[in-house]
């Protein structure tokens, strides 16, 4: 055993050389046609080909040499380290966490609170529009949506592929009621949540008996129905044109953010006109909404209803044998999740000033679900990190104009968004199959709170 792990041992070296050559041969044939041969049009527009042996040689060499190095040095090194650790008898489970780890949530919250002012300070009014709106608000909307969906998927284990429907209900509730009746944002925010919760119950009823794949398909269909109704009910929703000119949220009715109005916020505070103040205000609203979602989720998890949701995810039949009414338990999960989707939707409408069915396609549901799964089902922290990575990643891609210098002027990085997402998800799921935070925090404990490893929790079967 020890002989095999020693670097430079003839056996290991011989094996490394063998594997290196093998990798080289495979990559030679793999890249022969992709890299080794190039077609182009000559001056007569005829398609001709030429060889690129040099480039092919580089590819083959990189493959062969890195395979050789991996087998000869890196692997034995890792094995030695593992062996040393096993010998020292210290378990890998580190109880001691560093300062950043322990206070991660506090640090994150403080950062979010000062974030708009930080960006104002660093990049100025015009520059911070991008950072507050495109990054801050956009990410927080998805954080809130994902936390809302987390109640349904992560806690209750009901796979919902049509979550965007509740987002749409919330957005259109605000858009329609404010433009037809002139209600204010602060009245319509709770109303949108209640209406969305109502739709959550309406969706919940027919799908109570369904589990797993069947549940997923029906919720998917529900999402599409809502979208198609919005497109085709043109008298009310104006169809694909969407509803524009939606009223902005006011500063709790005291100041308005409309530029021309008498009690304008900028005038009252003697500031120069800029839309950044409204964006900062919106940032704090969505931050508060996110905090509300997190608070309610954390509180509910420790309540009997939250425990019943998690028990439902673990074993529905056992739930019924303990006298838990699974019908109302499922419906409350749908309704609570939908309510937060509705809040987020009405906020979205107030922020955009425009809603159309375009914003509520299936892809949105898929992205929200992907955030929940990537973050680790049930974990608020993990989901927030996943939202930053996925939504922030999209925005960062837009900024990467330097890539044009590498790949040519026709290259638009946003177009590769889904490709990169797919790749990123596969990589994350390979290394962390339970998402960023795979363990679950118990809701009650006798002696000490120990996280439950993800290998024990179930995903639920619908």
């Amino acid at each position: 055993m020890t002989a095999a792990t020693e670097t430079g041992h003839p056996n290991v070296l011989a094996k490394a050389v063998r594997e290196g050559i093998f990798a080289g041969v495979i990559s030679f044939f793999m890249f022969l046609l992709f890299v080794g041969v190039e077609t182009y049009q000559d001056i007569n527009n005829a398609l001709v080909w030429r060889t690129r042996w040099g480039l092919l040689a580089i590819f083959v060499l990189v493959a062969a040499v890195s395979r050789f190095l991996t087998v000869a040095f890196i692997k034995p090194h890792i094995d030695r380290r593992k062996l040393a650790k096993a010998k020292s008898g210290v378990l890998e489970v580190s109880e001691q966490k560093n300062f950043f780890h322990r206070h991660f949530l506090k640090i994150a919250l403080i950062f979010l609170l000062v974030y708009p002012f930080l960006s104002l300070l660093i990049v100025g009014k015009q520059g911070s529009l991008k950072y507050v709106d495109n990054f801050g608000i956009q990410i927080l909307i998805y954080v809130m949506l994902a936390w809302g969906l987390n109640i349904v998927v992560g806690l209750a284990g009901l796979l919902d592929l049509g979550y965007v429907a509740f987002y749409a209900v919330g957005a259109y509730s605000y858009a329609l009621l404010s433009s037809y009746f002139g209600f204010s944002f602060w009245l319509l925010l709770p109303m949108s949540g209640i209406l969305a919760a109502l739709w959550g119950i309406i969706l919940g009823f027919p799908v109570l008996r369904l589990r797993g794949d069947y549940l997923a398909i029906v919720t998917l269909a529900f999402g599409e129905i809502i979208r198609l109704v919005l497109i085709n009910w043109t008298e009310v929703t104006k169809g694909t044109f969407g509803i524009s000119g939606i009223a902005k949220a006011s500063f709790f009715g005291i100041w308005s953010f409309d530029t021309g109005s008498a009690n304008s916020f900028v005038k009252a505070w003697g500031l120069s006109a800029s839309s950044v103040y409204y964006k900062i205000f919106l940032f704090y609203i969505i931050l508060a909404l996110c905090m509300l979602t997190a608070y309610v989720t954390i509180r509910l998890r420790r309540m009997p209803i939250g425990r019943a949701w998690e028990a439902l995810r673990e074993d529905e039949i056992a739930c019924r044998s303990l006298g838990i009414n699974t019908v109302t338990t499922k419906l409350t999960a749908f309704a609570t999740g939908a309510m937060f989707g509705g809040f987020a939707g009405s906020f979205f409408a107030a922020r955009q000033g425009f809603v159309s069915p375009e914003s509520f396609v299936f892809l949105e549901s898929a992205v929200i679900l992907a955030i929940v799964v990537l973050g680790g089902m049930g974990s608020l922290t993990g989901i927030a990190i996943a939202a930053v990575v996925m939504v922030g990643g999209t925005e960062v891609l837009r900024e990467m104009s330097f890539l044009k210098a590498v790949f040519g002027p026709d290259f638009t990085p946003e177009l590769y968004r889904m490709l990169l997402f797919g790749l990123a998800m596969i990589i994350v799921m390979l290394f962390k199959p339970r998402g960023f935070v795979g363990s679950r925090e118990p809701t009650a404990f006798l002696k000490e709170r120990r996280a439950v490893s993800g290998s024990f929790t179930k995903e639920g079967h619908g």
């Binding site: 309610v296 009997p304 209803i305 425990r307 056992a318 179930k458």
Partner: protein
């Protein structure tokens, strides 16, 4: 005996009358009548496929019986017709709890959480269906403390206190069995239905289980159990009912049943005149 006209004396907790259950063309239970007496351990035994688990599923509401009446009388005299209740109402209203042949724990929840989930209905009421609980009223906090006390009590009885904060899925098999029983007891049942509680246990775990069951009986809950392990049945039960092909073939005290030639014939498939010789073998060697 006409259906619905029988009156129950208070020492009968469950009365099963003319119970039949049909699956398509298969008659899983055929006109079965039996009684479970209060404060006793009643065992339901029989060869594989005799319909024992089907009886259980009818009692606990997982199946709706094709025919028959299941009357449960609570200590306060209230009577419930189990076949008319929905599955979750049977533990909630009628006070019947059950365990499963293949253990069904909430494996990702800790042992303590498993016991708290079992007290769902009491806690729901105390939390004002979540609304008052969200406000953190003292009445709710008191109920939470009480629920933890009750969980602690059963943890102690099931010898699981050390593992209270571990995930239920992490427990060894025997401990999972005990946890499932403790969880059922946390619903405050008057009738506890155990589906093969001793299956897969080693002799020591089996003995611990017997102690636990006796303790539960002494606390006032009646027990109905399905069991294959004859040594468990004979040792702990006060009353044994034997099923074969969905019909009752014997009913009485353990001594009566183990000497009943029809039971021996059913278990061993032998002629009646050979019965005497095999009784001893059967009782000593279990039913293998």
């Amino acid at each position: 005996m006409a259906l619905g006209t029988t009156t129950m004396t208070n020492d009968t907790i469950l009365k099963v009358e003319h119970l039949s259950m049909k699956f398509g063309g298969l008659m899983a239970i055929n006109d079965l009548s039996l009684e479970v007496r209060r404060g006793e351990i009643t065992a339901l035994i029989g060869p594989n496929g005799a319909g024992k688990t089907t009886v259980f599923n009818c009692i606990t509401g997982f199946y709706k019986p094709t025919m028959g009446m299941l009357t449960l009388q609570r200590r306060d005299g209230k009577e419930f017709l189990l076949e008319r209740l929905r599955d979750f109402e049977i533990p909630k209203l009628a006070g019947v709890a059950r365990t499963f042949q293949n253990i069904r724990l909430f494996s990702g929840l800790t042992v303590l959480e498993n016991l708290l989930v079992a007290q769902h209905n009491a806690l729901m009421k105390a939390s004002g269906y979540t609304i008052l609980g969200l406000l953190g009223l003292p009445a709710y906090n008191k109920a939470v403390d009480a629920s933890i006390e009750k969980a602690k009590y059963w943890l102690d009885k099931a010898d699981l206190t050390d593992r209270a904060d571990d995930p239920a899925g992490d427990l060894p098999y025997g401990a999972q069995r005990r946890l499932e029983i403790a969880r059922a007891m946390c619903t405050n049942p008057e009738l506890l239905c155990l589906d093969e509680p001793a299956a897969g246990l080693n002799p020591r775990e089996s003995a611990a289980l017997n102690t636990l069951l006796h303790l539960i009986r002494d606390e006032g809950a009646s027990i109905l159990l399905i069991e294959h392990d004859m040594s468990v049945v004979m040792e702990i039960s006060d009353h044994v009912v034997v099923l074969e092909y969905g019909q009752k073939i014997s009913d009485g005290s353990p001594d009566h049943v183990k000497n009943d030639p029809r039971v021996i014939a059913a278990y061993l498939g032998v002629e009646d005149d050979e019965v005497e010789e095999v009784i001893a073998v059967e009782l000593e060697g279990g039913n293998h």
